[in-house]
C-alpha cells in the first residue's frame, strides 16, 4: 500500500531524505517499519512534532540502551526477545469520531462488555463524540471518573478535562503535555527514572509513544479519581507508555490505571515507565489493575510486562502509595518504588500478584529511606496456581541520615495445587542505628477443609476458591478505590478459573 504523503514529508523533514523505509498502512493503522534504530527514534519524535531537546533526550536514551544488557537476575524465563522484530510506532488513523456506539466496531464493544466496562465509559473509550461531556449538576451522584484512553500508542479520547482545568489541574496525554506544557515536562521527565536507569527504562525513554500527564497545583485536592485504560490492540506492537504525575505542595491526587488486552497469539513486549513527584505535604495514590493477556494454558502468547514505576517523595510529609493487582501478563517484572527524600515522608506498597497456568511474576518494591522519620509499609500477597511462579523481590534501604526511619514488610504467599512455586527475596540494607525494620512472611495453601466447608454451605468449588483468595488479599483490596475493588475481586476469581479440581 502507498504511504501517506504527510508521513513521508514528516520523515523527510527530520532525516534529510535518508529515511529509506516504506510504510505499511493496514486497517486504519499506520506503522513505522519493524525494527529499532536511530531513524525510528527520529521518526517517532517527528511524528509527534516534538521539540529538539526531547529528540536529543530520546537519542541519548537510545545510545545508552545500546550499551546495556537485558536484566537476567529476575526469576523468570522466556525465549530471547528480538528487538528488531517489533514495531515501535502504531497509531489509529485520524478520523472523525463515531456519532454513537452503534457506529463503533462491534468486536471492540464485545471486548468491553466482557470486561464489564459501563456503557457510558465504553462510549468515551470508543471516542464517541460528546460522550465525555460533564453531566449536569446533580445529575450523577456517583463520583465521576476521568478517563484518558490509550489505544495502542496514541491517546484518542480525553474526558472531564474542562472540569479539571477549572482547578488548574492538567490531565492530558504526555504528547499533548509536550506541546502545551513543555517547561513542566522538561523539568520533571526523567527526574525520577533517568534514561539509563535500567534496560527497559532506557528502551522506553527512546521510543515512548504516549501515556498520561498529570499536574496538580499547590493546595489542590483533585475532585475526581483519574483513570486510564491502557490497551494493546495491534499485532506485534510494542507498547511504551510514559506517565508523569506531579503533585505540588499540599495537593492530593488518586490515579487509577486499568489494563486489559484482547487475546493475542504472539508475545507482546510492554515496557512502561511511570514517574511520580510529590512535594511538601502532597499525596499521590496510584492504583493499578493489570489484566493483560496471560497466554494460554500452555504458556503460548501473553504479554511481557517489564515496567519501571517509581515515585519521589521530595517534600516533607509527602506520601506516595502504590496499590497493584496483577492478574495478567505471561511475565511480570515490576517494582513500584518510593524514594523517601523529604523528612517524615511516607511510602506504601500494597500488592496482589496472581500467577496461574504458566505465568511468571517477579514483582515487589524498593523503599529508599533518605529523610528523617520516613516510614514505609509493604504488604505483598502472592498467589500461585497451575504451573505459575511467583516471586516477591523487595529492597528496603535506609541511609545513615534517615534517623527514626521505620519499615514494616509483610509477604504472604498462597499456593493452589502442587505444580506452582512461591519465592520471597527480601533485601534489607540498614545503615542507621535508630531505624526499625520489620519483616514477616508466610506461605500457605488453600486447605482441603476450607474448600469442603464452603462447598458444604452450597458454594461451588470455584466460588469457594474465589472467596478464600479474596479473603487472603483483603488487606490489599481495601486500599483500592471502590469501583476498582469490585472489578478486582471479579478478576481474581476469573484469573483462577480452572485452577482447582
Amino acid at each position: 500500500m502507498p504511504a501517506v504523503s504527510e508521513t513521508i514529508d514528516a520523515v523527510a523533514s527530520v532525516t534529510q531524505g535518508t529515511y529509506k523505509y516504506g510504510f505499511e498502512t493496514e486497517i486504519d493503522m499506520e506503522f513505522a517499519p519493524k525494527g529499532l534504530n536511530e531513524d525510528i527514534v527520529r521518526f517517532i519524535s517527528a511524528k509527534k512534532n516534538e521539540p529538539a531537546w526531547l529528540l536529543e533526550w530520546r537519542l541519548k536514551a537510545f545510545a545508552l540502551w545500546k550499551t546495556m544488557e537485558e536484566p537476567r537476575w529476575p526469576a523468570v524465563s522466556y525465549p530471547p526477545i528480538d528487538y528488531q522484530d517489533a514495531y515501535y510506532y502504531a497509531a489509529p488513523k485520524k478520523k472523525v469520531g463515531p456519532k454513537s456506539l452503534d457506529e463503533v466496531d462491534p468486536e471492540l464493544l464485545r471486548t468491553y462488555e466482557k470486561l464489564g466496562i459501563p456503557l457510558k465509559e465504553q462510549a468515551i473509550l470508543a471516542g464517541v463524540e460528546g460522550a465525555g461531556e460533564v453531566p449536569a449538576e446533580g445529575g450523577e451522584a456517583r463520583m465521576p471518573v476521568a478517563v484518558d484512553a490509550v489505544f495502542d500508542s496514541v491517546s484518542v479520547a480525553t474526558s472531564y478535562k474542562e472540569r479539571l482545568a477549572k482547578e488548574g489541574i492538567i490531565f492530558c496525554s504526555i504528547s499533548e503535555a509536550v506541546q502545551e506544557h513543555p517547561e513542566l515536562v522538561r523539568q520533571y521527565l526523567g527526574s525520577v527514572v533517568p534514561q539509563g536507569d535500567n534496560f527497559f527504562a532506557a528502551l522506553n525513554s527512546a521510543v515512548f509513544t504516549d501515556g498520561s500527564f498529570v499536574y496538580i497545583p499547590k493546595g489542590v485536592r483533585c475532585p475526581m479519581e483519574l483513570s486510564t485504560y491502557f490497551r494493546i490492540n495491534a499485532k506485534s506492537t510494542g507498547q511504551f507508555e510514559r506517565t508523569l504525575i506531579i503533585a505540588e505542595a499540599g495537593s492530593h491526587v488518586s490515579y487509577l490505571e486499568g489494563c486489559t488486552a484482547p487475546m493475542r497469539d504472539e508475545n507482546q513486549l510492554h515496557a512502561a515507565v511511570v514517574e511520580l513527584v510529590a512535594m511538601d505535604d502532597a499525596t499521590i495514590k496510584y492504583s493499578t489493575v493489570q489484566n493483560w493477556y496471560p497466554g494460554d494454558a500452555e504458556g503460548r502468547g501473553g504479554i511481557y510486562n517489564f515496567v519501571t514505576k517509581r515515585g519521589a517523595c521530595r517534600g516533607a510529609r509527602s506520601k506516595i502509595s502504590w496499590t497493584q493487582v496483577e492478574t495478567g501478563s505471561s511475565i511480570t517484572w515490576k517494582y513500584p518504588s518510593c524514594i523517601l527524600q523529604g523528612d517524615d515522608s511516607v511510602g506504601e506498597f500494597y500488592s496482589v500478584a496472581i500467577t496461574n497456568n504458566r505465568q511468571q511474576a517477579d514483582t515487589g518494591t524498593k523503599m529508599f529511606h533518605i529523610g528523617r522519620n520516613t516510614r514505609s509499609t509493604i504488604i505483598s500477597k502472592g498467589i500461585s496456581a497451575g504451573h505459575g511462579q511467583n516471586t516477591y523481590r523487595g529492597l528496603v534501604k535506609i541511609s545513615p541520615k534517615a534517623s527514626g526511619a521505620r519499615n514494616f514488610t509483610q509477604c504472604d504467599s498462597l499456593l493452589i495445587g502442587d505444580q506452582c512455586g512461591a519465592h520471597t527475596v527480601p533485601y534489607i540494607e540498614n545503615r542507621c542505628m535508630t531505624a526499625k525494620v520489620e519483616h514477616e512472611a508466610t506461605t500457605s495453601r488453600i486447605a482441603e477443609d476450607q474448600l469442603f466447608y464452603c462447598r458444604q454451605r452450597g458454594l461451588s468449588e470455584e466460588d469457594a476458591v474465589g472467596l478464600i483468595v479474596n479473603g487472603f488479599c483483603r488487606e490489599v483490596l481495601k486500599e483500592l478505590p471502590m469501583e476498582f475493588a469490585v472489578e478486582a475481586q471479579k478478576l481474581l476469581q476469573i484469573s483462577l478459573e480452572g485452577s482447582v479440581g
Partner: protein, 247 residues
C-alpha cells in the same frame, strides 16, 4: 426422609463404616451415640460428600435424591446441612459476606431471588437475636479468633439462615459450657417441625437433655448396634458403651 442402606466406606484402605442402615423420617430428630473411633464423624463426612473417603457399598438418599452421586454443594442445595465438629477458619473472609454468599448460592439453585445486602442483614440480625449472639460476629472473619463456643454458635446461626431440611450435628456439644449448650439446643429446637429432620451425633447424653430425640441409635465398630427411644441415651449414660457390646 434420610435413608441409608448397607453403607460401607473406607479411608486409606481401612474400613470404617461396615454396613450402616438408618432411616430418619421427615420431622424426626435422631441421635447417634457411640464411643470414640466408632465411625460417627466418618458417617457425617460421607453423607456431606467430603473427599478422601471411598464408598465401597450401599446407598444413601435424601427425599429420593441419591446423595452419593452428588457434589457437596449439590447435597447442600437439596437441604443437607452439616454442623462441623471443628468449624473451619477462613481468614479475611467476613462472616456476613460468607453467610450471604452461601445463602444466595442455595437460593439460586432453588430458583429463588437472591437477597441484597440490606435484606440479608435484616434476616441475619433477627436470627442472631434469637440465638443471643453479639452483632459483631457478622463483621469478623469466618470463625477467625472465635472461641470454641462462638464457633459452634456460628454453625447454628448458619443453620438458622440456610433453613436446611436435614441437619447433621457432629458433636456440636463438645467443648460447650452449659449456657452455650442451651443456646445451641434452642437453635435446633426452634427448627423442629414437619419439614425438618436432624441427626444429632454425640458422645455424651448431656445434649439430649435439651434436644430430646425421637430415636437413639448406638454406633459401634462401624455398625448401628442398637436402636431405641430417648431412654436408651440415659441407660448408656448409666452403664456405658461396654454394656452394649456385651449385649
Amino acid at each position: 426422609m434420610l435413608k441409608i442402606e448397607g453403607l460401607t466406606a473406607e479411608i486409606d484402605g481401612k474400613e470404617i463404616l461396615k454396613g450402616i442402615d438408618l432411616e430418619v423420617p421427615q420431622g424426626e430428630v435422631h441421635a447417634i451415640m457411640g464411643p470414640n473411633g466408632s465411625g460417627k464423624s466418618t458417617l457425617s463426612y460421607v453423607l456431606a460428600g467430603r473427599e478422601g473417603y471411598e464408598i465401597t457399598g450401599g446407598t444413601a438418599s435424601f427425599n429420593g435424591h441419591d446423595l452419593l452421586a452428588m457434589e457437596p454443594e449439590e447435597r447442600a442445595a437439596t437441604g443437607l446441612f452439616l454442623a462441623f465438629q471443628y468449624p473451619v477458619e477462613l481468614p479475611g473472609v467476613g462472616n456476613a459476606n460468607f453467610l450471604r454468599t452461601a445463602l444466595n448460592a442455595q437460593r439460586r439453585s432453588k430458583g429463588e431471588p437472591e437477597l441484597d445486602a440490606m435484606q440479608f442483614l435484616k434476616t441475619a440480625r433477627a436470627r442472631m437475636k434469637e440465638l443471643s449472639m453479639p452483632e459483631d460476629m457478622l463483621k469478623r472473619g469466618v470463625n477467625v479468633g472465635f472461641s470454641g463456643g462462638e464457633k459452634k454458635r456460628n454453625e447454628v446461626l448458619q443453620m438458622a439462615l440456610l433453613q436446611p431440611r436435614v441437619a447433621i450435628l457432629d458433636e456440636t456439644d463438645s467443648g460447650l459450657d452449659i449456657d452455650a449448650l442451651k443456646i445451641v439446643a434452642d437453635g435446633v429446637n426452634a427448627m423442629r417441625g414437619p419439614d425438618f429432620s436432624a441427626v444429632v451425633i454425640t458422645h455424651y447424653q448431656r445434649l439430649l437433655d435439651y434436644i430430646v430425640p425421637d430415636r437413639v441409635h448406638v454406633l459401634m465398630g462401624g455398625r448401628i448396634v442398637q436402636t431405641g427411644g430417648p431412654e436408651l441415651a440415659k441407660q448408656l449414660e448409666a452403664s456405658g458403651y461396654g454394656s452394649v457390646q456385651a449385649a
